[in-house]
């Protein structure tokens, strides 16, 4: 299959989506830090708990989403905002969920690591590896229903060392299920580098060991990911063959907000920021005359205004009533 490329409209959509995530993450960091100064206390402020920022990993989401159809399943992890935005979840509802408000995706019950949108078949989980068997099950259902739909499971470089990864890939392979496993390899599992945690780094060999196709995107580039994702998605959708798509990506911030990253060198962090995929993508759009500088700036302005509105709506929204906790234990 020749390397396919996203058209101009898709390239612009990718830019807007990546900006949406990045601007959201930057603004929400400030919201998160409210009340957490001078002492960084997780419980304080209007956005308590943990916050895992996906800045730098945006290409992983926008490279794959254009190939998805309505009713495809998408499962993501604790580092999920970029996938949620690309998949079309409502930004206002995401923001409200992060602040635990009644207007949030789960009415405030889930929080940042537990984003759900049943209509879009989107879910996330905070337990490493949990989403893999679940996505495998969705793929099984789609095969049984003969619906032509696929499941995409996002996971990380740390998670591939969980038993659930092994079991899921084997199961999808032996049962020939329409599943694409996307490994977002940002090289870090909190403070442990991939080189020290993982023996087999060649994902094509790893995939071959399970009898599935393996793809690897090297450059954290939406176009490269788009081309490889098209192959992986097509295999799943048209041939009911699972595959592994590994994407070398970049975690621009710490594991969670509050992680001082003492285990990571200054040079590595600066190099990552100097190769910001959004800056590179924007330059491409302008160089190829897909957008002018002022059109690109206008998109950024629009996204800024939109995110500001989500945040102000979320601040004003009400909390759910206490008795809500009893309402959704059972269906």
């Amino acid at each position: 299959m020749p390397d396919s490329k996203p058209d101009a409209q898709t390239m612009i959509w990718m830019y807007r989506m990546m900006l949406t995530n990045r601007i959201f993450e930057v603004k929400m960091q400030a919201v998160y830090m409210e009340g957490k100064s001078p002492k960084f206390d997780l419980a304080k402020g209007i956005f308590p708990g943990e916050y895992h920022i996906s800045a730098g990993q945006e290409p992983c989401a926008v490279g794959i989403e254009p190939h998805l159809l309505e009713d495809d399943w998408v499962g993501s992890t604790h580092r999920c905002h970029h996938v949620a935005f690309a998949h079309g979840l409502d930004g206002r509802a995401i923001t409200a969920e992060l602040l635990g408000k009644r207007t949030g995706l789960s009415g405030g019950l889930g929080g940042h690591m537990h984003l759900y949108d049943a209509k879009r078949r989107f879910s996330t989980t905070g337990i490493i590896g949990e989403g893999l068997p679940t996505a495998c099950g969705a793929a099984l259902a789609f095969k049984m229903q003969k619906s032509g739909r696929i499941a995409v499971a996002f996971t990380g470089d740390g998670a591939i060392n969980q038993g659930a990864f092994h079991e899921t890939v084997n199961l999808a392979s032996v049962w020939q299920l329409p599943l694409v496993i996307v490994i977002e390899n940002n090289q870090w599992a909190v403070s442990v580098p991939a080189a020290e945690s993982t023996s087999m780094h060649d994902s094509e060999s790893r995939a071959a060991a399970y009898g599935v196709a393996g793809f690897k995107a090297m450059n954290n580039d939406p176009e490269e990911i788009y081309a490889l994702a098209e192959q992986a998605v097509s295999l799943a959708r048209n041939e009911l063959k699972p595959s592994i798509l590994e994407i070398m990506t970049s975690r621009l911030e710490g594991h969670f907000m509050g992680d001082a990253q003492g285990y990571r060198s200054e040079e590595e962090i600066s190099a990552a920021k100097a190769n910001d995929p959004i800056d590179i993508h924007r330059l491409k759009l302008i160089d190829r005359s897909i957008l002018t500088v002022s059109e690109a700036d206008l998109i950024e302005e629009e996204v800024n205004a939109e995110v500001d509105q989500w945040i102000s709506d979320a601040r004003e929204a009400e909390y759910p009533e206490a008795e809500t906790v009893f309402r959704h234990v059972y269906a």
């Binding site: 957490k36 100064s37 001078p38 002492k39 960084f40 710490g254 509050g258 992680d259 001082a260 003492g262």
Partner: protein, 75 residues
């Protein structure tokens, strides 16, 4: 030997989050006398000599560069 003064030697402001001794206690050189928290990091303040401790900034006090934290009278 004169009193050893320990001050905050960091360009960022911080807050004293916990004392592990009270004024008048005897500390040993190397003891962590208190912890100071910057936004994302906890810094141990270590006794530079053994002796009697005098706290100069209580818990929850914000400290800036060169602000005094404690003094130790060597014994």
């Amino acid at each position: 030997m004169k009193d050893q003064l320990i001050t905050w030697q960091n360009e960022d402001d911080a807050v004293i989050t916990q004392w592990f001794f009270t004024s008048g206690d005897t500390v040993q050189e190397g003891d962590v006398v208190c912890e100071v928290t910057l936004e994302k990091t906890v810094v141990d303040i270590v006794a530079t000599v053994s002796g009697e401790l005098k706290i100069l900034a209580e818990e929850d006090t914000e400290i800036g560069t060169n602000d005094p934290i404690c003094a130790i009278s060597p014994n």
